[in-house]
């Protein structure tokens, strides 16, 4: 269930390709046979619930899909009501752990926290946040604001635009006037691309070295986005992701070449495509182990899955149904990213940031130690 038409069709199309590639690989090599049913909600929230209900009523129990968090939150009650599992293959802002969802994309401790570390240690401590006006941007900006402020930095401004907005002149002027150390962008789809172009042109016209002195950093800029960008606006953007197409290892080499063979006119593989590919592979592994598509058995089996994925080994955290993934930072060059930082091992997911953020110890404020003398 991917919106391959509508305002974020580029990334959703890449996700569909990743999922279908895994389906075809499983068709060739097993361990189960999967029959894909493809639906396109067109980026329309109300269509997500209607289509989910329809799929589940027709006997589909496992749906790989959704890109935006608003669509995911919209369909979860439907999956709970009809006993289905949503395999959600995108990085997201966290603060969720629904019983009927398996999350195969990165949790906030696997994308935004490593990005803040990198940005503050490399570019400075004045952040400008821009985003599409929905939960992804709100929560990311909140996490960034809290972390940056706690480390003595400042957020000079936060601006939100409607999903699909492409008139960004005012926003670009505001950014240039504020001259932050970096811009943190949670703009999605066409808005994100329009912003990168507009900012680049405005800076070139004023003689500002934008990538060097005021880079745009994002947790949702991927290879297909770069492919859609005009060439002069492609270089020098910072992206935090658990997967980049440029990774060199045998599993990813095979993934990239099979993807290129299957979709010759499509852009390079991306994090969301890989997460969708992983979702289908894990689903197949869990179905094979459970011997049924019944959801309790599949949920028990998925908790034991481990996979040599294109990004490296991934495995399921049984408590949160999120994955152990490897955070990386990339800098765009052409339609690819150079990987400039990488965690040495996969990181345990922390969707509620209970281990990664400072604890608010209301209970610790009352001293429990007593003076002995």
């Amino acid at each position: 269930m991917f919106s391959t038409t509508g305002p974020y069709s580029t990334v959703a199309g890449a996700m569909l390709n990743g999922a279908l590639l895994a389906v075809s690989e499983i068709g060739e090599a097993g361990p189960v046979e999967l029959v894909p049913v493809v639906v396109d909600p067109g980026g329309d929230l109300s269509r997500y619930t209607a289509l989910s209900g329809q799929l589940l009523a027709e006997g589909v129990r496992h749906v790989v899909g959704c890109y935006t968090s608003s669509s995911r939150k919209e369909v979860i009650p439907c999956f709970e009501k009809h006993d289905g599992i949503l395999w959600y293959p995108s990085h997201y802002e966290g603060f969720e752990s629904a019983d009927n969802v398996v999350y195969t994309g990165a949790a906030p401790n696997q994308h935004i926290l490593p990005l803040i570390d990198y940005l503050m240690s490399t570019f400075g401590d004045r952040a400008f946040c821009v985003g599409s006006n929905y939960i992804w941007a709100w929560e990311n900006s909140r996490i960034l604001r809290e972390t940056v402020t706690a480390r003595g930095g400042t957020v000079v401004a936060e601006r939100y635009l409607p999903v699909g907005e492409t008139d960004l002149r005012k926003l670009v002027d505001a950014v240039i006037e504020a001259r932050p150390s970096f811009v943190f962008s949670s703009l999605i789809g066409v808005s994100g691309l329009a912003f990168l172009s507009a900012l680049r042109h405005a800076c070139l016209a004023r003689g500002i070295d934008q990538p060097g002195t005021m880079p745009v950093a994002s947790c949702n800029l991927s290879e297909p986005d770069l492919d859609e960008l005009e060439p002069e606006a492609r270089d020098g953007h910072i992206s935090s992701s658990v997967y980049f197409s440029a990774l060199r290892n045998p599993v990813n080499d095979a993934f990239v070449s099979r993807h290129a063979a299957a979709y010759p006119s499509a852009p390079l593989t991306s994090a969301d495509a890989e997460a969708s590919y992983i979702a289908v592979k894990l689903l197949a592994g869990a179905l094979a182990e459970a011997g049924t598509d019944e959801i309790l058995a599949v949920k028990a089996a998925v908790a034991r899955q481990r996979l040599a994925a294109p990004q490296g080994d991934v495995w399921v955290d049984a408590e949160t149904m999120h994955l152990h993934l490897t955070p990386r930072i990339g800098r765009s060059r052409g339609t690819e990213f150079d990987i400039i930082r990488e965690e040495p091992v996969p990181i345990r997911p922390d969707p509620y940031l209970v281990r990664s953020a400072p604890t608010d110890s209301w209970f610790a404020s009352a001293p429990r130690l007593r003076v002995a003398k």
Binding site: Y352, R355, T359, D360, F363
Partner: protein, 215 residues
């Protein structure tokens, strides 16, 4: 009321007093995911309550099943502030049960059977409302204490008017300035002044530069 709202509850000890049905397992598992340390307490025998001192020692947060008879004593005072935040688990949604939970100090409710997606919201509301309520209660106590001691303020103003031949406004300005200088509340200062433990440091308000406090 400048307190930041809390959002990370990791490490807090949650004690659940419930009859054992209605999705309590779900509650335990979600609290675990949120980083809390969860324990179940025995349900007190009919007519008995949990020991408040023991609760404070063992828990930072209490979940109380509204289907049980009062788990905490209901005489918590007007502000209904128990020693730790209380979240009410609502089974039978009857006014009597809800009232009993309110009287035990509940600052948030969670419907049984517990739905996983509702736990964080309830935790967030319950703990933050409790802390706000406690802060307001202590603010109110402080205000009431000052109200009780206004007699000392009036008396001191009269004494100053007499001793320094000033009007009431000027006497008040002198009082404020001197209590601030001594880093004392106006009321503390007045009590000290009346009992002779404190004397004005400046003889007249005219000796000091005018400040915003002057009217």
């Amino acid at each position: 009321m400048s307190r930041n709202l809390l959002q990370n509850f990791r490490g807090a000890r949650a004690l659940i007093v419930a009859s054992g049905e209605g999705g309590i397992d779900t509650l335990e598992s979600v609290l675990g995911k949120l980083g809390l340390v969860v324990a179940r307490a025995d349900v007190p025998e009919a007519g008995r309550h949990l020991d408040l001192a023991l609760v404070e020692e063992r828990a930072d947060l209490l979940f109380i099943d509204g289907d049980l008879d009062s788990v905490l004593p209901c005489d918590l005072g007007a502000a209904r502030t128990p020693p730790v935040p209380v979240i009410g688990l609502v089974g039978i949604e009857a006014p009597g049960r809800l009232k009993a939970l309110m009287n035990q100090g509940a600052t948030a409710f969670l419907r049984k059977p517990v739905y996983a997606g509702a736990v964080y919201t309830t935790l967030f509301l319950g703990v933050n409302q409790y802390l706000l309520r406690k802060e307001m209660a202590s603010e109110l106590n402080a205000q009431q204490d000052r109200r009780r001691r206004r007699k000392a303020v009036i008396k001191t103003i009269l004494l100053l008017m007499e001793e320094h031949h000033v009007d009431d406004d000027e006497a008040y300005v002198m009082l404020r300035r001197d209590s601030m200088r001594r880093r004392q509340s106006l009321e503390d200062y007045c009590e000290d002044y009346i009992s002779g433990r404190s004397k004005l440091t400046a003889s007249s308000p005219e000796a000091e530069p005018r400040t915003a406090a002057r009217r």
